[in-house]
């Protein structure tokens, strides 16, 4: 076997140009496969129901965008309410695992008609102390940084901290420590004027997460400002979040919550994401079942062509190998080995290059789909790439390899003589 392997490597070295071109073709095609698969696998992961630590989304039942009374959510998560009491009886219910979101859109420009995207930001009012545990993608965030939303360290600016994603920070052209006056595009005061809010930029959200264009602020600050301004949206929240231990608890919790208040609905995050992606189902189907298979077939065709040419050029050589005692199976392995080596190497590089470029140089694939503005190449792609390269190379080399095995010694020698 070792001798066969050495022979395979020696054969590859004989035509470096062809090997390089075929390898490059595999590399670029695996690259595009990896990029597409990175997006698809992330979406699949979001749309797939989890079995433990399940996130539940509480929203207004009938409208988009969802808005409902915070008091209704309080009855679910704070002691004292009947809903809370019934939820507490569920074995997998985690009373501390909840948070809420209130969305606001701001412009740094008082003239809202100038829709300069570099002066605009979208902020989520939430509970700072819950951020490290209740926001997907921010699990590793420093709790002390989140606490600065409440205490930015500037007198007279209590609760006015703002955490910005690194991309948004750069686009707004601000730095940590800067003081901002922002004008709400989405919220008006009692006279119909945009609500003004002052912020201190207290920190930057971690890099390479889907939050790199977002901003977080303290919900208490939002609520206080809206109440003072007489906004219609005071006392309302957009979403409530719960985390429960398992699926049976999730089902039971949602049933309890909905039975106590018919104006709100409760569902798992995966169900909600699935519904939001419903209009994109056709695109995702096309990508999954038309584009991806085509890439794989093109890859197999390119390898098949290259290995086919190699076999045709080496028919005399194969005949000599047969005379020397090589069995058809060994010749098959030799030819397939060439294809496999190219496939595995091209496949590995086809993952390594996009992984490094996308995750560390370009900081993600920017393809805003729903709530997911940016995608990254996952580490598990290092399994896909070489496997896909190997499988397509094997499929592409199979027919030329079988042809190589079928070479008739007498026929070849008579032609040569």
């Amino acid at each position: 076997m070792a001798k066969l392997l050495i022979l395979v490597l020696k054969n590859l070295r004989r035509n470096p140009l062809r090997v390089s071109l075929t390898g490059l073709a595999v590399l670029v095609l695996v690259t595009i496969y990896v990029l597409i698969q990175s997006v698809l696998s992330f979406l699949d992961q979001q749309m797939q129901e989890k079995t433990t630590n399940i996130r539940l989304i509480i929203t207004e039942r009938f409208r988009i965008p969802s808005r409902f009374q915070k008091a209704d959510f309080d009855r679910i998560v704070l002691p004292g309410g009947e809903t809370y009491a019934r939820l507490m009886q569920l074995p997998g219910y985690q009373p501390e695992a909840w948070t809420l979101w209130h969305f606001m859109a701001f412009s740094l420009d008082p003239d809202l008609s100038r829709r300069d995207p570099n002066r605009f930001f979208f902020a989520i009012g939430t509970l700072p102390e819950k951020m490290p545990t209740m926001i997907d993608g921010l699990e590793g965030i420093d709790p002390a940084l989140c606490a600065k939303l409440k205490n930015p360290g500037v007198s007279g600016m209590e609760n006015a901290g703002l955490l910005l994603g690194p991309k948004r920070l750069a686009r707004l052209g601000v730095r940590v420590g800067d003081r901002l006056q922002a004008f709400a595009v989405s919220h008006r005061d009692r006279t119909g004027q945009p609500i003004k809010m002052d912020f201190i930029v207290v920190g930057v959200l971690p890099e390479n997460t889907r939050w790199d264009e977002a901003a977080f602020m303290d919900y208490d600050y939002v609520e206080r400002t809206l109440t003072d301004a007489g906004s219609d949206l005071a006392g309302l929240i957009n979403l409530g979040w719960l985390t429960v231990l398992d699926q049976p608890t999730a089902q039971a919790a949602c049933a309890i919550i909905e039975s106590h208040n018919r104006n709100i609905k409760c569902e798992t995050a995966a169900t909600a994401v699935n519904r939001f992606f419903e209009p994109l189902k056709d695109i995702l189907f096309g990508v999954r079942y038309l584009l991806v298979p085509t890439i794989l077939v093109v890859m197999a065709v390119v390898v098949s062509n290259a290995i086919g040419i190699t076999v045709r050029e080496r028919t005399s050589e194969i005949a000599v190998l047969k005379v020397l005692g090589f069995t058809p199976a060994q010749i098959l392995v030799l030819i397939l080995g060439e294809g496999l080596t190219i496939g595995i190497l091209g496949g590995f590089l086809g993952v390594a290059i996009p992984h490094l470029l996308v995750n560390y140089v370009f900081k993600g694939i920017r393809l805003p789909l729903g709530f997911f503005p940016v995608f990254f190449v996952p580490l598990k792609a290092y399994y896909w790439g070489p496997w896909i390269g190997a499988a397509t190379a094997l499929a592409g080399s199979l027919w030329p390899a079988i042809n190589g095995c079928r070479v008739r010694v007498a026929e070849i020698f008579s032609r040569v003589s």
């Binding site: 140009l17 062809r18 071109l21 075929t22 490059l24 073709a25 595999v26 670029v28 095609l29 690259t31 595009i32 597409i36 039942r61 009938f62 409208r63 988009i64 965008p65 859109a105 412009s107 809202l112 008609s113 829709r115 979208f122 595009v185 989405s186 119909g192 945009p194 219609d232 089902q251 949602c254 049933a255 909905e258 018919r262 609905k265 569902e267 519904r275 419903e278 209009p279 994109l280 189902k281 056709d282 695109i283 096309g286 038309l290 584009l291 085509t294 890439i295 077939v297 093109v298 890859m299 065709v301 390119v302 098949s304 062509n305 290259a306 086919g308 040419i309 050029e313 393809l367 805003p368």
Partner: protein, 401 residues
């Protein structure tokens, strides 16, 4: 004279390699055509949407109907009492104040877990459906407009066929509200194909931003037909001053053009994917052409001895590569074009997080054909150039030896 017949015959003689290389081109070009035609379908829909003499009035700062809210107050009437607004045959201003909303419709429970399921429905609440349709430039395909009494609605053709509903059908939009479909809009190829139109009060109160307790009514948009489309910019600029309200107005086609801007991203992604795939296909072509050159060194030497110049050899091999590319490319374009007209669902969005679902057809436009042809030529040229140049570097006597 370039030995073109020699190259063509070579393609025929080496038919297996020719076919396999061309197959790579066929697949790359077919998928490119499908991807571009998909994006073009949405762009075509947006291009055809809206009338240039219609202005869409939204709340200042928003560029999506879903996020706009215009409080219904006396000053608002000035929007359509302007002398610049067109009137219909009865002298009524061609104005349609509307409430656009996305409702979550509750569906029967999932038998597996007994939990309710939901889907989104796009609703438009109208004060006068007939006038609204006239301003939008739409008409009924069958049935009648909903009346001011009773829970009735009219639906776009696309959404009606998707939900399996027709005139006379009823559907429950929420537990306490059932609508009867009384008309189907002739809406194919428009952004209203996936909308359900009903009374403004019902949509505003049940799914919009109306606050019944506080007695507040909101519109999301007001569509205004101008007497003269040339007045659009002027009207938009002065609207705010004349009404004293925080409003902005943009020509209706421009609104949909903006809504389809998200598709530029899809277009860029499609071109990027196609370019990478084309690069893979190009390496395949290079392989084939290098093999062709190395197998025919003696032929090239003979041609050189017969008096053919280096540039003629270069052009002849380049021609061979181009023939291969064109063969695969044309078949690929034809194959991809077979998808023309297939109905698809997607969404258009202003980028603010809203957007709307649209039903459209995959459309192979001249842009698609031109881009695909350009890809074919570029792949052929780039894939064939280096091997052809290598062919010109051969020394005739050495090659013959």
């Amino acid at each position: 004279m370039i030995p073109l017949r020699y190259n063509l015959r070579n393609l025929v003689v080496r038919w297996r390699v020719t076919a396999l290389t061309a197959l790579g081109f066929v697949l790359v070009l077919a998928i490119l055509v499908v991807m571009l035609a998909f994006v073009e379908g949405i762009r075509e829909l947006a291009r055809r949407a809206g009338r240039p003499d219609n202005l869409l009035v939204l709340r200042e700062g928003t560029n999506d109907e879903l996020f706009s809210d215009i409080a219904d107050m006396a000053d608002l009437a000035r929007v359509w009492l302007s002398e610049y607004v067109a009137t219909d045959d009865h002298g009524e201003p061609m104005v349609s104040p509307e409430v656009y909303a996305i409702a979550t419709q509750q569906l029967p429970p999932d038998p597996r877990d007994g939990r309710p399921r939901y889907r989104f429905l796009q609703l438009r609440g109208l004060m006068d459906p007939e006038r609204a349709a006239a301003v939008h430039g739409l008409r009924l395909l069958r049935g009648r407009w909903f009346s001011s009494v009773g829970d009735e609605c009219v639906m776009g053709q696309g959404i009606a066929s998707l939900l399996g509903l027709d005139v006379g059908s009823s559907f429950q939009i929420r537990e306490d509200l059932t609508w009867k479909v009384v008309g189907i809009l002739d809406s194919r190829g428009t952004p209203f194909d996936s909308e359900t139109w009903a009374k403004r009060e019902v949509v505003g109160q049940q799914f919009g931003k109306d606050n019944v307790e506080r007695g507040q009514r909101f519109f999301t948009s007001i569509l205004v037909r101008l007497r003269d489309p040339a007045l659009a910019d002027w009207f938009a600029d002065t609207l705010k001053d004349r009404t004293g309200l925080e409003l902005s107005a943009i020509p209706e086609p421009k609104y949909y053009e903006r809504m389809s801007e998200a598709n530029t991203l899809f277009l860029a992604a499609a071109l990027f994917i196609a370019a990478i795939m084309a690069t893979g296909g190009m390496f395949g072509l290079m392989n084939t052409m290098f093999a062709a050159v190395s197998q025919r060194t003696k032929d090239i030497a003979v041609l050189r001895i017969l008096g053919y110049q280096r540039w003629q050899i270069l052009l002849s091999f380049l021609f061979e590569a181009m023939m291969l590319a064109l063969l695969g490319g044309l078949v690929g374009i034809a194959l991809g074009s077979l998808f023309h007209g297939i109905e698809q669902k997607s969404f258009i969005s202003s980028g603010q997080g809203g957007g709307k679902t649209v039903v459209f057809q995959i459309t192979v436009t001249p842009f698609v054909l031109k881009t695909a042809s350009l890809f074919t030529i570029l792949m052929g040229l780039l894939g064939g150039l280096v091997p052809s140049w290598a062919a010109t570097r051969l020394r005739p006597l050495e090659a013959l030896r």
